[in-house]
Symmetry: D3
Subunit: 229 residues, 6 copies
């Protein structure tokens, strides 16, 4: 804890002053580009991984990056999704799993969670993904099954997302886009699901066009800056 | 979205290689120092605010930094808390609210949330805090009431935390410590609750000893490094 | 009620004796070809509509042919689906909506259900479908919106079905197939969803191959019978 | 599935045309005589068993012909009952169990349902009936216990029905009547509960008066038809 | 509060010493004759009303003397009933309502409970009783309707009791008896339901035999005591 | 049961007439001084223990004197607390546990409650207290652990009480006071929690001032009565 609180003081003294203009502008309201749903795992830093600044990602985190399907019951995820779509109008939702996920290891072996009864019940929201892996991966290694589970879990949570009324409506109107990612802690690689090929692909391939578009825009801005000097 | 996915590529190419050693070491397991519970608000970046690196904070985020009290029901927060304490053994929990919180504005005026029914129900977990503010702040300005609600909500969620068996047991054993913070988006200031004075104080005051301890340790390490050269 | 109980006596005296062999054989166990989920509406008779005999369809009926998504909660549909797939191993599930559906009219206008609070909450399982129709059909007639809702509701319930672990696993293994139908009470027409065209088509078109296969088999059996005489 | 979809085409081509007048009239609205609650079991065909036509029975079916008691929670049965009584005003409710019921076999032996957790929980709505049988049938054969369970379960579900406000009110006003039946798959026999004798009796005995009344009315209609020729 | 805590001291100094033998014997275990379920209303004192000593009544009290029906959910009443029957084996259950009941006044007029949302939902467990009264008492005075509601509510809660497995089993075995009472605060009169006449009768009439039996036994004991002197 | 119903008759004939004036006055409304929450245990008589008359205590009783924390769910305790504070405005709440509590013995050994599933789940509302005792009392005797559990459970339920909005608001306004007691069945002693010393103390010590105040007032009243003669 000493380093954390000392970090806060350092942030206030050294970091915040440099970003003062950004924070003052943000204080008037947020307009995030995406709802980013990921695991609580300490090794994931969404801002670092996406190189985004404060104000860009509305972030929900829980053990296992789970999204319960829409029911008449209310929970933190259901409410936060409703708020992100209905009140903030975010145009993208990313569900991002990751390798070495303790929650997914638990989902694979629920019996070992006897002493963590709530974790066990919570991870039952991943059980359709586990069932799929058990069905497909009868002859696979433990490692292959886990890799598949990370992907199937992300796809299942995307499916759960589609049962939320606000999500369904915006999808139908073409005003919302869903993204399924798996982040590899060890290599920094991010795989993203491609609806058409029904495969997970490297981000650089999956979003090839958009990245190229962003690069051009950046270069144009840079060139423009150059001219203006 | 273009800037986000371009950011991922940039992270992989430019940032990850520099932190490769850290990530490889983390791939073998996480030992976070704290469970950090905060709002999903896009303007909050816990790692930035605490100047921590990946691996230090196990992070749960939802609209309003709510912690439902322990019941026989399971939800994302209950499960994630159980996992953080029971499986990872984190020694600290921080509940961090913030100024300009849209969720807290909603909690103050639930009737305006008619079109966001799940958000409305979720924020009823803050209603004891709202009731306290209404009781105390009959003659206050809207702004004063909101400032008080941010604090009361954090204290209420800490109270909810104490009803979770794993939390209660570790608290009784002196192996877990709870922290209630409010982050000011506009100024970068963080206030922290002091159990003894029953007041929120600046982090630099509240954790004066620990920060000093950290500084000394850093200087000693630095001096040692100096000597060793 | 007089005609119903007189009907039972008539069934016992006149109908059952003719089907005695079938019922005696069925008494040893059921092996239904499909789980058939439809509305409780009195105007729908699944056996009549599919010209099937006892033993062929495992039937679940409720107001609105709703399938709640899988959660940690248990209800009649969740249990019956689990039983049909897990205990009986049915290879097909049909979700069949219908025109003039009172439940769907209610879903379209939930405010009018103030006096039927449970119906109102139950139909909120169709609210993602309603939201889609409101999004797409801003300029449509009431009739066009209702036609679309019947279809979207069936598709939503199929999506809910996919969140049930047993269903997901069997789908992944290719051992289970889902069918989305809408029955027109006034014309006797049944439309069936085609995954590839993403359209609802007449049954005769959608299942062209299978119907042809069945006809051939029937004719072959008939011919064979002819020969054997 | 081939025979089912071929059956739909046959229905459209051969059966519907003959009943066109009935279906066109029904398209304007339904006025069912009874809410018929029975098991999803494929071997039960309520229309066949009661020799009724479309429009006469509003049918709810689930594994075990269970009716959860009224609570503040909503489920498919609660909603469908409310709709049948409150919106359609049906004057009769039949709860119909049956012999060889897989669900009741499960209720008798819940421990064997470990792999069907939702089925197990759902069947706990029959546990008061199971407890009664265990109390009474200590010295009975397995078969005798099962026969008793089928009856006790139907009586328990009738009791659950009486806890639903709309049912209770209509019963008090004498505008609704409850019927408890057990159908024997092997013999086609239907037993019906008699409140006064507190016994299950053959339908022909239990509804002796009503059947006689129906027969007379039919004969009178027939005679009248004869005259009019 | 001063009189209450002074009362505790008085109890310890003056009352307990006289009953020391009873309390010491009770400390080894309880064998209550009845589970007594009544309203939390301060004007009801079950021990005073039944002139019973500590150890005789296992008492559950809540607003409205409500017994939720048995479901898969757990609450205080469900657990306490299970404990009383299953662990203590009490042979009688009394549900005792009372005149001037604020909870029943609320149940009659749920809309007025907008500011007490939990009370409103809790009292919906009495809504079948309210519906019955509305059906029967269209032309009654407010007072007559309330009197009827007190009775119907007690009968409804008895019906809910019968859905609890342990209760149902013991009832079937003749080892448990249910009693429905209404206590009149103003007159001290207690009415008790008679299953056979289907009427509420004065306790002196309803339990005529048992009271006579008790009197005889008392007199015999007294006479015996007399002799022994 | 004979003695209970004979007791009712005795109450009506001998006791009520003496208290007629009190009951007639109470019939116009109740203004209880405290909400008294205690165990259903037959050996506890709150009126006897506090020497209070009808009208002074609004009493809630359940197995284990449990208070579920406030959630969006409704139960008997939540509703009764809301009613007591919101509708009756009681200024004190006492949570009173007791020695030899069967419920607490169960909470200590949940595995032994396999046959009482609802009791087991209900007592999980005491599990934070059990966890604390397990943490602190590793080297204690069974008896010491039980004594501690009785206290910790009362403190936990007080903590749960504070999460109820109406309670939190009134506490903040200084209009409500919470009391945690443990009653010793064997000795008649009552221990009361002292917030400042964080210890349980004898009632005579804990409420020394209030008892003295009450005594003086009584003596003054007595003296005054003396004078007036
Ligand atoms: Zn993870
Ligand atoms: Zn916020
Ligand atoms: Zn329908
Ligand atoms: Zn069955
Ligand atoms: Zn009352
Ligand atoms: Zn107790």
């Amino acid at each position: 804890m000493p380093s954390i609180v000392a970090g806060v003081v350092k942030f206030q003294n050294e970091v915040f002053p440099q970003k003062k203009a950004l924070f003052e502008q943000l204080a008037t309201g947020q307009h995030p580009e995406a709802l980013f749903i990921t695991c609580s795992d300490s090794r994931i830093d969404p801002s670092l991984m996406t190189q985004t600044a404060p104000g860009e990602l509305f972030i929900c985190r829980n053990a296992g990056n789970i999204v319960p399907p829409h029911t008449t019951e209310t929970g933190g995820m259901t409410a936060s999704i409703e708020f992100a779509i209905g009140a903030l109008g975010v145009p993208h939702i990313v569900v991002c799993g990751h390798t070495e996920c303790g929650a997914m290891k638990g989902a694979m072996n629920l019996d070992a969670l006897e002493k963590l009864p709530h974790t066990k019940r919570w991870l039952s929201y991943a059980s359709a993904a586990v069932s799929i892996v058990e069905e497909k991966g009868a002859n696979w290694t433990e490692e292959e099954r886990m890799q598949e589970l990370l992907k199937e879990n992300v796809l299942l949570q995307l499916q759960h997302l589609r049962t939320h009324p606000q999500v369904a409506a915006k999808l139908a109107a073409g005003k919302l886009h869903l993204h399924g990612w798996v982040y590899d802690i060890r290599t920094g690689e991010v795989l993203a699901y491609n609806d058409e090929t029904r495969e997970f692909e490297k981000v650089s391939k999956r979003y090839h066009d958009r990245i190229a578009y962003h690069m051009e825009r950046m270069q144009a801005a840079h060139a423009h800056e150059g001219h203006s000097h």
